[in-house]
């Protein structure tokens, strides 16, 4: 399956979705002008992956900032991951970033996927 690899910019996150190497990562800042357009390739990739996923998937989300339009799309991403067996979300937050910790907790309450919380 093709690898989705997007370099991070000052307003968009770095994204690596690599089935072969088992790397699934969204990290950095997410405040694009058009979040729906930005996340569409990610949703498309997950849709494809869900047809033949790995036995287990650790999906890492390590965001420094995200805007509210992105939060809606992050929920869409999580919803797309929800039906994949063996899925775990690894939610990273900076150790003094209570808002990002709370954001992760809220997302975990909105979808039926196990979340693991880690600080950096």
């Amino acid at each position: 399956m093709e690898i989705l690899n997007l370099e991070g910019t000052e307003d968009t996150p770095k994204i690596i979705l690599d089935k072969g190497n088992g790397i699934f990562e969204i990290s950095g800042r997410s405040l694009p002008e058009d979040s729906a357009e930005f996340y569409q390739p990610v949703l498309d990739w997950i849709d494809e992956y869900s047809k033949d996923p790995n036995d287990s998937t650790d999906f890492m989300i390590k965001l420094e900032y995200f805007n509210t339009a992105s939060s809606k799309l992050i929920l869409d991403v999580l919803s797309a991951l929800e039906d994949i067996d063996g899925m775990t979300i690894i939610w990273y937050f900076h150790e003094d970033d209570e808002d990002m910790e709370e954001a992760g907790e809220e997302f975990s309450e909105l979808v039926e996927i196990p979340f693991e919380f880690k600080t950096y």
Binding site: E10, D11, L31, P32, E33, D34, S35, A36, Y65, N67, T68, A69, S71, K72, L73, L75, H94, D96, D97, E98, D99, E106, E109, L110
Partner: protein, 176 residues
């Protein structure tokens, strides 16, 4: 030339560290964010406070960008940051159609009537049940600003002419 000094004095009187007046775009948003971030970095601001200010700035600026086209003639808006001993103030003003006042007023009054748990419930309700608008908004901006602030959002509508009012919004982030 007196207006130069007057403007300078006004900025000092209100402890404004950044003022931008003009058209708002995503490119401008990024520049304003970068400037404010640099200012907070160089003054050694605590990272938790910096993040809250940054978050509120993003929502505030992107609101203006998204709704600039609602106004036909003059899109010019203002954005500023005040830095006081005990708080940051993130302040914006932009022209809106008079017909939009009631809706905005209701939305903001509702947000201001809610406590921490109420805001959290409203946030979760909106994120679950609404789709991204044609303008790219999730309808969560004000709720998020109120949550990051922990205080009511201050707002006012100033008459401009028959068609437009100037929507002023002030969000504070405590430095304590």
């Amino acid at each position: 030339m007196k207006y130069i000094f007057d403007l300078h004095q006004t900025m000092l009187d209100h402890s404004l560290i950044l003022v931008y007046e003009g058209e708002f775009t995503q490119e401008i948003t990024k520049s304003v964010l970068a400037m404010a971030e640099r200012n907070m970095d160089s003054s050694g601001e605590e990272s938790s406070i910096k993040r809250k200010v940054f978050n509120v700035m993003v929502e505030c600026l992107q609101n203006i960008v998204k709704h600039a086209d609602d106004v036909e003639e003059n899109h010019s808006a203002i954005f500023m940051i005040g830095k006081h001993e005990n708080e940051y103030l993130i302040v914006s003003g932009n022209p809106i159609l008079k017909g939009d006042i009631d809706g905005l007023n209701k939305k903001l009054e509702n947000i201001n009537s809610l406590d921490k748990d109420g805001l959290k419930a409203l946030y979760k309700d909106i994120i679950k049940n609404t789709q991204i608008s044609d303008k790219g908004g999730a309808g969560l901006g004000f709720v998020d600003m109120a949550r990051k602030s922990g205080r009511p959002l201050e707002f006012d509508f100033i008459d401009m002419d028959d068609k437009y009012s100037f929507f002023c919004l002030k969000t504070s982030i405590s430095r304590a």
